[in-house]
C-alpha cells in the first residue's frame, strides 16, 4: 500500500516543490482518467436517475429525487415544493394537481385548504437519492435473467470451443512439419483482411441451411475459429522448445497427451490472453446475434439493450440500468484475469 502511494505521488521536483513536468504529467493523467472513467461514472450515476431527471437540461451530475409527503386524504404521497413568492413565500407545500401553468397545492398540516398557484411560483424540494426502480423493473417487467443466461451461455461455450479449436490448430501449425504448413498459416492470416460484413450474408445462408437460425448455437459455432486466436497461440507455441516435446515422446506420451499435458499448460499465458479477448468479443457481440436470433426468448443482453431503443422513444432509465449490469461481468473478468494479461505480455516479451 505504501509503495502504491509513493508511486502515485511520485514527483520530479524535490522538497515538496513541483517541477513543471509534474504539472504536465499530472494534468495529462487527470485528463486521461476523466476521459476513460468519465463516461462510465456518468453512466452509473445516471442509471439511478428518475426519467424526469434524465430529461432535465442542463443535466446535473448527481441523481436527485423530489421530496414527497403523505397527506391525509390523499392516497399517494404528494410532491413537496417551496413557494418562492406571494403570501406563502418560503413555505413547503404539497402539490395535489397540476394543469398547464397552474398548480393546486395544500399545506401538509391543512390538507383541506386547496391553494392555487402559478407553477413558476413553486420550486421543487429535492435531495440526492438513488432510484432503484430502474433496476428492479428489469427483473419485474423484462426477462433480464433470460438475456443474462443467453449471453453467458454463448460467451462461455463460444470461448471454450474457440480455445480448444484454436489451440489445436496452433499446435499443428507450430510443432508439426508438413507439406503446405506455411500456405495454410498464410491463408488463416489472410482471412483477417476480410471484414465480417462481407461474409455476413453467405454466413447467414449457411447458418439457416444448417438449421441453426434462431438458435444460440448459430451464434456460437461461426465464431469458433478466429485467425487472430490461431496466430496468437501459434506465435507463443513456437517458443516452446522442441526438445521438451521430444522428451515427452521419449517418455511414451502420445501426441494427444503432449497437447494436453505439455503444450496447453505451457501456453497458459497466451491462452489466458485469448480467453479474455474471446469473452469480450462474444459478450459485446451485437451484429451477428441480432441477425441470427429473432425471438425475444433467445435475445442476448446486447440485443435486449437495443430493443429498449424504439423508433420514437427510448426507454433511457432501463437502458442505462441494463447497460451497467451488462458491463459488470466484463469488468469482473478483467479484474480477475488482468494478472494473466500482465504475465502474458511479460512472458512473450522475453525471459
Amino acid at each position: 500500500m505504501a509503495s502504491l502511494w509513493s508511486m502515485l505521488t511520485a514527483t520530479r521536483g524535490r522538497n515538496g516543490r513541483l517541477h513543471w513536468t509534474d504539472w504536465a504529467s499530472y494534468a495529462y493523467l487527470t485528463f486521461g482518467i476523466l476521459l476513460m472513467f468519465g463516461p462510465v461514472v456518468w453512466l452509473v450515476v445516471s442509471s439511478f436517475k428518475t426519467p424526469n431527471e434524465l430529461d432535465r437540461f442542463p443535466p446535473r451530475f448527481l441523481p436527485y429525487v423530489q421530496e414527497t409527503v403523505e397527506v391525509e386524504g390523499f392516497s399517494d404521497p404528494l410532491q413537496v415544493y417551496t413557494v418562492t413568492e406571494g403570501d406563502l413565500a418560503g413555505e413547503h407545500v404539497a402539490q395535489t394537481r397540476r394543469a398547464g401553468t397552474r398548480a393546486e397545492v395544500v399545506r401538509p398540516d391543512a390538507p383541506d385548504d386547496r391553494i392555487r398557484l402559478r407553477t413558476d411560483q413553486l420550486q421543487a424540494v429535492e435531495r440526492v437519492g438513488f432510484t432503484t426502480s430502474n433496476y428492479t423493473e428489469l427483473f419485474e417487467r423484462f426477462t433480464f435473467f433470460r438475456y443474462l443466461f443467453n449471453s453467458t451461455f454463448i460467451t462461455v461455450m463460444a470461448t471454450l470451443i474457440m480455445l480448444l479449436v484454436n489451440s489445436m490448430a496452433a499446435f499443428a501449425l507450430s510443432k508439426y512439419e508438413f507439406r503446405g504448413r506455411t500456405p495454410v498459416l498464410l491463408l488463416i492470416i489472410a482471412t483477417l483482411m476480410i471484414p465480417q460484413t462481407v461474409v455476413l450474408v453467405p454466413l447467414y445462408l449457411l447458418v439457416t441451411q444448417m438449421g441453426l437460425y434462431n438458435s444460440l448455437w448459430g451464434v456460437i459455432i461461426p465464431g469458433a475459429a478466429t485467425p487472430t486466436g490461431v496466430f496468437l497461440l501459434r506465435q507463443y507455441m513456437v517458443t516452446i522448445p522442441d526438445e521438451i516435446l521430444d522428451a515427452a515422446r521419449m517418455d511414451k506420451a502420445s501426441e494427444w497427451k503432449i497437447f494436453w499435458r505439455i503444450i496447453l499448460p505451457l501456453s497458459a499465458p497466451a491462452i489466458a490472453v485469448l480467453a479474455i479477448l474471446a469473452i469480450m468479443w462474444r459478450w459485446n457481440d451485437f451484429l451477428w446475434p441480432l441477425i441470427v436470433l429473432s425471438e425475444n426468448e433467445k435475445f442476448t443482453l446486447q440485443i435486449a439493450l437495443f430493443s429498449f431503443q424504439g423508433e420514437f422513444q427510448t426507454n433511457w432509465p432501463n437502458l442505462l440500468a441494463m447497460t451497467v449490469l451488462t458491463l459488470l461481468p466484463i469488468a469482473c473478468v478483467f479484474m480477475f484475469l488482468q494478472k494473466y494479461i500482465a504475465t502474458g505480455i511479460a512472458s512473450t516479451g522475453g525471459k
Binding site: 521430444d246 522428451a247 521419449m250
Partner: protein, 355 residues
Amino acid sequence: MASIELRDVRKSFGSVEVIKGIDLTVEHGEFCVFVGPSGCGKSTLLRMISGLEQITAGDVVIEGEVVNRIPAADRGLAMVFQSYALYPHMTVRQNLSFGLENARVARADIRQKTEEVAKMLQIDPLLDRRPKDLSGGQRQRVAIGRAVVREPKVFLFDEPLSNLDAELRVGMRNEIAGLHRRLGNTMIYVTHDQVEAMTMADKIAVLRAGRLEQFGRPLDLFNRPENLFVAGFIGSPRMNFLAGRIDDGAFLLEKGERIALPGHGFTHQPGQSVTLGIRPTALQPAQDGPLTIEVTSVEQLGTESYIYGTTTDDTRLTVHEPGQTRVAFGERIALSLDTEEVHLFDTDSGHTLRA
C-alpha cells in the same frame, strides 16, 4: 542383450545428405561416445537411434530387431537432452514420474521408483520444486533421473554437460561414469569434447561430416589413429603435423631438414607426399636434434611446460616438457623426436601409412 547396430544408416534433409552411411555396433553394456566437431551429424545420429528422427536409408537394429518403423516411445530407450528439456510446469517428482504414468505403472510403484532414483541422484530434497528453482547441476540430475527411472535398455545422452561450468562438468562426468558402472546399461553419449570422450568411453566413434572416421577403444584411437583427422582430434594438446616426404628411411621436410626413421615399418610409394604426426610429449629439446624451431611462446604450468614455436618452413609446433623449462621466448632450439611415436599419413587421402 541391449546391443545396438547401425547398418549403412543414412539421413538426408532435402537434397543435403548429413549422415553418409554409418556402420557400427555398440555391444551390450558398453559406454560408447560419439565425438566430432559441431555439425558432424553426431546429434542427428543419436536422434536417429532414438527414433525422434526418421532415417532415410539403412537399418537401426536394437537387440537384433530392426526398429526403423518403431516409434521413439516403444524402442525402450531413454534420452538426456542438451537443454535438459525438463517440463517447466511440473515439479521434479512429476517430471520423474511422467514417463511411468504414460507406461501405466501402478501409482505406488511410481512413488517408490521415483524416490529411489531421487535418492540415488541426491535430488530427494528437491522433489517438490519446479525446474526454474534448481541450479544447472540439479537440473542435470533431474534430467538423468528422468531417464534412469524408466529403467531403459539403453541410455542416450545428447551433450548433457555442455551447459555446465567447468568444475561441475568434471563432477558430473564422474557421476555419469559411476552410473554406468552401477547400472551396467548400454549408453551412447554425444559430445564435441574429446576429453569427455577419452575419460568416459569404452568405445569412441569419431565422426566428421556425416562419416565415421574411426571407431575403437580410446587408447587405440590415441595410439593408432587411422587418419589425420582422428590424429588431430584426439589428444590434447593436439598432435603436431609436419609436411614432407619419405626418402631412404628418413623423413625430409620441405625445407630440407632430415629426420631419420630407423625401421619405421610404414608402407609408402616413392615420392609420395607424406605428413608426419608427432604428439607434443614425443618431442624433447636436445642439442643435436634434427628439428629446429624458433620459440614463439612458453607456458609454465609448474609441473609441466609447453613450448610453442615455428619450424623453418613455418609449421607451428607444440612441445610438452615435464617439469619447468629453461627455454625462453625468441630462442632457437633443436628438438629430437621419439621415433617410436611417429605417425605417418598420406597427405592427399589423410590415411595412415601403417601397414
